[in-house]
């Protein structure tokens, strides 16, 4: 979804993830009592291709951060939403911040696998064990939950200009991953300005004008490694 499409969507009153989490929040006198959200109303059809494949999205918005100010009893709302629509899709991706919160718990609740994009830098190597602790803590609280890490992918580094500090951080992350038994993807996703251009244009990276063939190949190689990892 390009920025223009997104703004248009919001202006038309399109629902977002924020509405999923706030559907039962007491409202003002103007809007009346809380109403149950119909999942189909919150799904935006981004594109439906001629070969039958499609991309539907539920956009988010900045106000989602306000949900964290009053997170009580909301972590089951996203899993309940996903449960109602999951049979219609091959893959559902939930993009969330790695900071441990009600939002990550909600995402863990409705996920089978966690994909961890990680940068080869000092701060990432420190934050990485915290992610492990977050997942372990969640699994202790919810023993029946099967969520697991499907792998780590190194991204957003400058191709061919890897500094020694990056190499050390990368080694630290890999060592930790081995310790936790987490898979590290062989195919990385190095930095490319084309990803920003693709986002600006609302286009897939493979069809974004000016994208170097190498970038497309790298991303396709990662995709080819990723899908079998999650059984697709």
């Amino acid at each position: 979804m390009s920025p223009q499409e997104y703004v248009k969507y919001l202006n038309q009153g399109g629902l977002t993830v924020h509405d999923i989490f706030e559907q039962f929040t007491p409202t003002g006198t103007a809007s009346g009592s809380p109403k149950k959200l119909d999942p189909l109303n919150a799904i935006h059809s981004r594109v439906e291709y001629d070969d039958g494949s499609l991309l539907h999205i539920v956009p988010s918005r900045l106000e989602l951060s306000w949900t964290l100010r009053n997170p009580h009893d909301k972590e089951t709302l996203l899993p309940r939403f996903v449960a109602k629509i999951e049979d219609k899709y091959d893959l559902i991706v939930i993009d969330c911040s790695p900071t441990d919160s009600m939002l990550t718990d909600a995402a863990y609740h409705c996920s089978r696998y966690i994909l961890v994009p990680i940068r080869a830098e000092f701060l990432a190597s420190i934050g990485f064990p915290l992610l492990n602790r977050s997942i372990q803590a969640f699994r202790m609280r919810h023993e029946d939950n099967l969520v697991e890490v499907c792998g780590l992918v190194f991204n957003d580094f400058i191709r061919g200009n890897v500094k020694s500090e990056n190499k050390l951080a990368r080694k630290d992350v890999i060592d930790q991953a081995v310790k936790y038994g987490w898979y590290v993807f062989e195919n990385d996703i190095p930095h490319s300005d084309s990803y920003f251009k693709a986002a600006r244009n609302g286009m897939p990276i493979a069809h974004t004008k000016g994208t170097h063939r190498k970038v497309k190949t790298e991303f396709a190689a990662f995709a080819n490694e990723f899908f079998p990892r999650i059984g697709l």
Binding site: Q4, E5, E48, D50, N201, G202
Partner: protein, 165 residues
């Protein structure tokens, strides 16, 4: 037989083929014939000056013929697509090749080959011919939102929206 009469007959035949076999199958057959002709070196014997015109003529003719073939059976679709083709040809909509690529993605045409706008327009039209009137009505509206200027506005639109709120 005069050229105009030949052209008229060809249009009629193509319209019949489209009616019986569908747009995609006729398009595939024409592409095959075109390739075979190229292999046989037919084009190599033609004067260089006339070659460019002839490259364009069959494609334009077939899209136009396909449109003509639905004129009576699907007048609304014919009207919508004829109007859109006119705007496309005059560059009033989707003026750049990248705009057509972008639009193709938006409306669900996964791959559109060709580098130039001229190559892509017929391919886009063939795809649109296969769509329902309801879908065309909503999809074609979206073409007006696509331009290099819109893309350049990019994230500023987003920040303006967020700050306004």
């Amino acid at each position: 037989m005069s050229d105009s009469r030949k052209s008229g007959m060809l249009s009629d035949h193509l319209a019949l083929l489209v009616k019986h076999f569908g747009v995609q199958r006729v398009q595939a057959a024409l592409a095959k014939v075109s390739k075979e002709q190229a292999r046989e070196g037919v084009r190599a014997t033609e004067p260089v000056g006339s070659r460019d015109n002839r490259d364009q003529r069959p494609l334009r003719l077939t899209v136009s013929s396909a449109l003509e073939s639905i004129r009576d059976s699907a007048p609304e679709k014919y009207s919508i697509l004829t109007e859109f083709l006119g705007r496309l040809v005059n560059r009033q909509v989707l003026p750049e090749s990248q705009d057509i690529r972008h639009f193709s993605q938006v409306i669900g045409l996964k791959e559109i080959s060709g580098k130039s706008r001229k190559e892509m327009v017929p391919k886009l039209m063939w795809f649109l011919l296969e769509q329902s009137v309801e879908r065309l009505k909503s999809d074609l509206q979206r073409a007006d939102d696509i331009s290099e200027q819109q893309r350049r506005m990019g994230f500023s639109v987003l920040t303006d929206k967020l700050i306004d709120q």
